[in-house]
Every structure is written in C-alpha cells, then in structure tokens.
C-alpha cells in the first residue's frame, strides 16, 4: 500500500502557478526522486507533502487516510481559509509518519548533538530519558559520530550536521522520510558521506522521497523518478526509463547539469 499519495496538487504564489496539478505516490520501501531545474516547484511540493505549506487544491493521503482534500476554487472565492480541507485528526496522525531532512539542516544550535536527537523523543513522544539517550547514542554510533555527542552543531562540518539531522529524524521512527536537497549546502567532498547514509537507509527499506541535484545518485538509488519543470511533471517512470527518455526539456536539463 502507498504510504503517501498526492493527487492533483496545485499551488499559486502571488498569482503565479507554481504547481499545476501534480500526482505522486510512494510505497513502503520505495525511493522516489524528484529532479528538475530550480523554480520547477520540487521543494514546494515537498513542503506541501510535509504540511509546511498549504496546497490550493488537491488531495493528500497518508496510509490510506485522507489528510487533505480541497476542491479547485477561483482565488476570489477562497477567503483566508488555511484550515479548509484539512482533516485535523488524520493530519495529527500523519505527522508521526514522516520526517523531513532540510537542505540547511536546521539543527537547534543551543543544544548538543545528543540533545538535538533525544529532545523530541522526550518532549514530543514522551519517552523515558534513559531510553532516549540509549537510542540517541545508538544512532550516533551508526552515523559514526559517537565522539561528537557533547558538541554543539556549530563545531561540526556540514556533512556531520546533515548526518545528525538525519539521526534526529530517524529517532522518531518515521515510515517515510523526505529529503529536500540534502547535499546542496555541502562542499562536494562532503556529499559522499551523506549519500552513503541515504543508500544504507534504502537497504533497510525506508520509504524516501528525495529532491536532489545529484543525478548519478538519483539514477542509482531511485525506484521511480519524476522530472519536473515549470510546475509540471514532464517525465516519470523507472530510473532507467527517465534518464534515457527522449524528452527535449529533460535532455537539455541533464546536459546542463553534466556540464557544471
């Protein structure tokens, strides 16, 4: 069964149509990559999937439960109703199903590495502190960051920060993990460690939706690839099918990426 299903997602920002009706779904153990030029709406789509942004219309279903459903309506009829279309109870449940890894990590700078990981366990999931610490340490060990647990994020490299951010998300045991350009803020020599980690999550059959500019990585890891441009999905399918598709827009995009 699909963990996440999105249908007909539309979004406008100050009159400009950013998303023109996007469908996507992600099943258990599946890796879905979204590629495309900047400004194509990839990140907005991810933000809508994680409830950071409201879609103007469309449907969002998590684990078979409809969380959000809103009919298309002319803007003039829609009055400041951010809450319209949400099923509050389902939304609350769905929030526990996903995690999001940000481009610029968004670790909490006033907490140590370990505190960053265990605080949500203790204060959101209401777990015992001893349990949380044990779990946090196990995750840090897996990340190869055991020696950093008492340090503050400012003293870590970008790659280390991102690994801590991934550990923080994993601690809450999500069923699906979103990545918003997880390596775009990293120096090239640091992207490898983060990509290796994401690969290892695939081996554990973690469902993932990844917005990325790392084409080789997307090609290798994805079960499905979406190519987006100007708010539309121009190409979708298996990794091989998309990367060899004869879509002009896609090939010119891939060409430009390869050049850089």
């Amino acid at each position: 069964m699909a963990i996440l299903e999105m249908k007909g997602i539309k979004k406008r920002f100050s009159g400009e149509e950013i998303l023109k009706g996007i469908d996507l779904s992600c099943k258990e153990g599946e890796v879905l990559s979204i590629i495309g030029p900047s400004g194509s709406g990839k990140s907005t789509l991810l933000r809508i999937a994680t409830f950071l942004e409201n879609a103007d219309s469309g449907t969002i279903i998590y684990d078979g439960k409809t969380v959000f459903q809103r009919e298309a309506q002319p803007e003039s009829l829609r009055k400041g109703g951010d809450s319209i279309g949400w099923d509050t109870a389902n939304r609350q449940q769905a929030k526990a199903l996903f995690g999001l890894v940000f481009q610029n990590f968004n670790l909490f700078p006033h907490w140590t590495v370990l505190e960053n990981i265990i605080d949500p366990l203790i204060h959101v999931q209401k777990k015992e502190k001893s349990f949380a610490v044990e779990k946090g340490r196990a995750l840090l060990e897996r990340m190869g960051l055991s020696d950093k647990e008492g340090q503050y994020p400012c003293s870590l490299s970008g790659g280390q920060k991102q690994r801590v951010a991934i550990a923080r998300a994993l601690a809450l045991e999500p069923k699906i993990l979103f990545f918003d350009e997880p390596t775009s803020a990293l120096d090239p020599e640091l992207t490898g460690e983060v990509l290796r980690l994401i690969r290892s999550l695939k081996d554990e059959r973690m469902a993932m939706v990844i917005v990325t500019h790392e084409m080789n990585f997307a090609r290798e890891i994805s079960d499905e690839v979406l190519f987006m441009a100007e708010g539309e999905v121009l190409c979708r399918g298996s990794s091989e099918a998309v990367f060899t598709a004869e879509n002009e827009r896609l090939q010119s995009f891939l060409g430009k990426i390869q050049m850089s």
Binding site: G99, N104, N106, V124, Q125
Partner: protein
C-alpha cells in the same frame, strides 16, 4: 553635615532606587514579551492596539507618564489618593514604560530568528508553545541580551525620574540635602553611587552574556 551622614541618607535613598529598579525589571520583562506577541499578532485590532501603546510609551517623556499615573486618578476620576499610592504610581509608570521598550526588543529578536528553526520544530512534532519555549526563546534571549543590557543600564539612571513625583529615592534625597546645605557634595556622592550601581549591573550582565556564549 558630615560626609558619612550624607552617605547614610543617600544609601537609604539608594534602597528605594533599587526597589524601583528590581520591580520594574521583574514585571516589565514578562509584560514586554506579552506585548510583543500582541504586536506580531495576526489579529489586526490587537496588533494596532499594541502598536499605538508602544508608540505612546516611547514617544512621550517618562516623567510625564509618571505624572499621569500619579495624578490621573484624582484629576480624572476625583479619587482620593492613598499616601502609599505614590510609590505604587512609580512602579506602575516604570513598568508600563519599560515594557514598551522591551516589547520592541523581543519583537526584533523573534523576527530575526531563522524560520527554518520553527519549521524543523513543527516537523518533529513540537507544539507551538513547546517550540517557542524550548527552541525559539532561548536563542532569542541570547541574541537580544546586549540590547536588554542597554535598557537595564538606562533604567538605573531613569529611577531618578521618580524625583518628579517626590518619591524619596537617591536623587530626590541628594537634591534635598544639597539645597538645605548649599553644597554640591551630596550630588557628587549620588553620582558616584549611580556609577557604582551601573558598574555592577554591567559586570553582571556581561557575566550573563558569557554564560550564554557556549554556542554560536
């Protein structure tokens, strides 16, 4: 009058100044935070009401505000004033005024926060209150501390404005002795005491800032 007699009288006044200082901080710091929420509220009535309030508090002299608080109840409502109200009026006037300044400092600090922090908190499942108390405020507090220190130091000197409604704090005391003895000495001594007061305040605030400097 011997210098140590003057000093002991001034120290009595300093006690009153200190109480104005402490009571003002105790109440205006939290009140300022509440006002900053009003100022940032999406409710337009609340937002504009706090905006006008802050604008008046910052736009008119504190001395005038003290007069209004102290004499207002009598002039406007013909309420007979209890003698103890004089001190109360000073506390009220100072708290209302300083809360206005603190509100703007909080607001600047909160609005300068990276939105990503709040988004990360939301994704991790923190409630809005938790996110503010555990994640946003501790960072805001560290960032605004230098501005708060500025206000606190000004407050030490502003306590002398209680002179305007004849509260016997240190400046009022110094002025009275100076007049009766035709001497500058009490004023100079008061000046030195204010300076020492502020020296200690600045020292403590700096220690406090250093303590919060464990991350950057």
């Amino acid at each position: 009058m011997e210098w140590y007699v003057i000093l002991s009288k001034l120290l009595g006044g300093l006690g009153v100044s200190l109480s104005i200082f402490l009571i003002t901080l105790l109440f205006s710091l939290p009140l300022g935070l509440l006002l900053s929420f009003g100022r940032m509220s999406r409710n337009l009535i609340l937002q504009n009401a706090t905006k006008v309030y802050i604008s008046i508090m910052r736009g008119t002299p504190l001395m005038l505000q003290l007069f209004v608080v102290y004499y207002g109840p009598y002039y406007i409502f013909k309420i007979q004033l209890h003698p103890g109200y004089r001190m109360m009026a000073v506390y009220i006037g100072f708290v209302l005024n300083y809360a206005g300044y603190f509100a703007e400092i909080y607001r600047s600090g909160i609005q300068a926060m990276d939105k990503g922090q709040l988004e990360a908190a939301e994704i991790l499942g923190y409630s809005k209150t938790q996110a503010f108390l555990r994640i946003i405020f501790p960072q805001v507090w560290k960032n605004i501390l230098p501005s708060i220190t500025n206000e606190v130091i000004t407050l030490v000197k502003d306590t002398s404005l209680a002179f305007s409604i004849s509260v016997m704090e240190m400046f009022t005391t110094a002025k009275a002795i100076s007049s009766s003895q035709s001497s500058m000495l009490p004023l100079i001594m008061a000046g030195i005491l204010y300076y020492i007061f502020n020296f200690i305040v600045a020292f403590l605030m700096e220690r406090f800032e250093k303590k919060l400097d464990y991350y950057s």
